[in-house]
């Protein structure tokens, strides 16, 4: 459930766009959301307090100075920027076993009650599980729920975005049955299917990737999102999509691959 920070009245998210990550392979969605929050300097407005996520705490990951470095952060927090009509939910931990379904329900009922106009899910899928048609061209894909098709469908065509291909349910047996499969995508498929059947405007943006240094993947996914939302503009040409250098990397991304090595090793 959404709990606002401090004693302030709950913020109004009517007609806002909700951006959130799927906890998926390479954590690309989560990394991209970190970049959005830090680059746009979005203030925290509340928590998404739930029993579905593994608890974790740490100090402010977006600290810029000594003063704001000691604010406690938890596993799911909500950031908002009314000037861009954008609300972001950052998820920092995986799901508790068998709780993903109840998380989807809680999330979608919050989306409905907060009257957000649309939801954008940033996700990823195992690169090694692509089929022949998915190997061609760009590794970026999108998926639109029927409800958002009307408002955003044309734009997707103009941007020349590729829709996530369906794959055969039973390869070699029956090629007619096509299903949507996003291996490594966590709750992506479930959340998308639920949104489709509940008439929620949802777009899924995803990238095929492998585990490793996923910062370039996150930047690629974010630039893909920026083509649509125009969160930041390129400096040279206001119409051109932003270049990766314009996204600011938070300091908490340091030591992503562990502590320093013992000097005696060398």
């Amino acid at each position: 459930m959404f709990v606002p920070c401090g004693s302030s009245a709950p913020p109004d998210f009517e007609d806002f766009t909700l951006l959130l990550p799927a906890v998926s392979v390479g954590n690309i969605g989560q990394l991209a959301v970190d970049l959005v929050i830090f680059t746009l300097d979005m203030p925290k407005v509340g928590y998404f307090y739930t029993d579905c996520l593994v608890p974790m705490v740490g100090n402010n990951p977006y600290a810029t100075a000594e003063e704001n470095s000691t604010e406690l952060s938890i596993n799911a927090e909500v950031y908002s920027l009314p000037s861009k009509k954008l609300v972001v939910l950052q998820i920092r931990s995986p799901f508790v076993k068998n709780k993903y379904r109840s998380f989807c329900q809680t999330l979608l009922s919050w989306v409905k009650s907060s009257r957000c106009s649309k939801v954008i899910l940033l996700s990823s899928s195992h690169a090694y599980q692509r089929d022949d048609q998915q190997l061609h061209g760009t590794p970026l894909r999108c998926l639109l729920s029927p409800a958002i098709q009307k408002s955003a469908g044309d734009l997707m065509q103009r941007l020349n975005w590729k829709e996530m291909e369906k794959v055969t349910a039973y390869p070699g047996v029956n090629d007619a049955d096509m299903v949507l499969r996003i291996p490594g995508g966590g709750i992506t498929t479930l959340l998308f299917n639920e949104s489709c059947s509940n008439g929620i405007q949802m777009a899924v943006l995803l990238k095929f990737c492998s585990e490793g240094d996923n910062i370039p993947d996150a930047l690629a996914l974010l630039n893909y999102l920026n083509e649509w939302l125009q969160l930041i503009k390129s400096e040279q040409n206001s119409d051109a999509p932003a270049t990766p250098s314009q996204w600011k990397i938070p300091h908490s991304w340091r030591l992503l691959f562990g502590s320093g090595l013992p000097p005696a090793l060398f």
């Binding site: 004693s7 029993d51 593994v54 608890p55 974790m56 705490v57 406690l72 596993n75 502590s259 090595l261």
Partner: protein
């Protein structure tokens, strides 16, 4: 599971790996009544129960709303933190055991009694006799991820917050600590703190630096306090010894000077002696010749 042709086919496990869960989520698999029954039974078995002794209701008078006033809650999680409270706090005041947590999971099970051996897995609550609003909890058992939320709801659900201040003590391996240098060069054990927004007192040690995080029950308690605006502080001791260890236990000593614990510690002369006794008891139990 076997087919008519005799070969063994691996059935998707209900315990589930991530991939299985994804598969289950993607393919809207119908849950059979048997599946549902098994899941319900497992959930029931994993429920967390808090048993308060009759002493508590007697001292707080009316216990009708099943909530008691609480001004200080001190929580020790893990063997070393539990031993620290046993030797430095519990011995110096007059405390009485007022409750216990009964839980079952893959790592441990606790009983519903308040009389336990130091080597048992337990989660016990104590109350200060001279001030019945001061509570202390010693938890050396493993509380699983799916049980932490229940634990919180049930423990804090029983408390009527009266300027409540929460102090959490916990330990974790020094290898979990992230620093640009090597963790081998760090003088362990050392203490780091995290506090909620409402906590305004001075903290007895440096705060935990980014990008370090804390997980498990200590983080669940601190998250709860942050969300519901309860002043709370977590003292995390980073140590290179996983078992009960005097040096690690003594690393918590700076916390004794904090405002919340200062008034509870009166006589420290016997502490070291009790500590030694505790550690040796454990060593004997860990010995293969017992």
């Amino acid at each position: 599971m076997a087919t008519f042709f005799g070969e063994v086919v691996a059935a998707p496990s209900r315990a589930g790996m991530d991939d299985d869960e994804e598969e289950a989520a993607a393919v809207e698999r119908e849950e059979t009544p048997e599946d549902r029954e098994i899941r319900r039974e497992l959930e029931k078995k994993r429920e967390v129960h808090i048993l308060w002794s009759s002493k508590l209701s007697a001292s707080t008078g009316s216990f009708t709303d099943e909530q008691f006033p609480c001004s200080k809650f001190i929580l020790a999680i893990g063997h070393n933190a539990v031993a620290f409270l046993s030797s430095f706090v519990l011995n110096s005041g007059c405390w009485e055991a007022v409750g216990s947590v009964k839980l079952w999971n893959e790592w441990c099970r606790t009983s519903n009694t308040t009389s336990v051996l130091p080597t048992d897995a337990f989660c016990l609550f104590y109350k200060l006799i001279s001030d019945p609003t001061v509570f202390l909890c010693q938890c050396n058992c493993y509380v699983a991820e799916d049980q932490q939320f229940q634990w919180l709801e049930k423990v804090f659900g029983c408390m009527r917050e009266e300027d409540l201040q929460v102090t959490i003590l916990s330990t974790c391996p020094v290898t979990d600590y992230k620093t640009p240098e090597s963790t081998l060069t760090l003088p362990s054990p050392f203490l780091k703190a995290l506090k909620t927004k409402e906590f305004k007192e001075t903290v007895s040690c440096p705060l935990l630096e980014q990008p370090n995080i804390v997980q498990g029950l200590p983080s669940a308690v601190l998250s709860y306090c942050q969300v519901w605006q309860i002043p709370a502080v977590l003292y995390q001791c980073y140590t290179d010894v996983i078992k009960l260890d005097t040096v690690t236990i003594e690393a918590f000593k700076p916390v004794l000077s904090s405002k919340n614990l200062k008034s509870l510690v009166k006589d420290m002369s016997k502490s070291t002696e009790i500590l030694k006794k505790l550690v040796t008891t454990n060593e004997i139990h860990n010995n293969i010749y017992t």
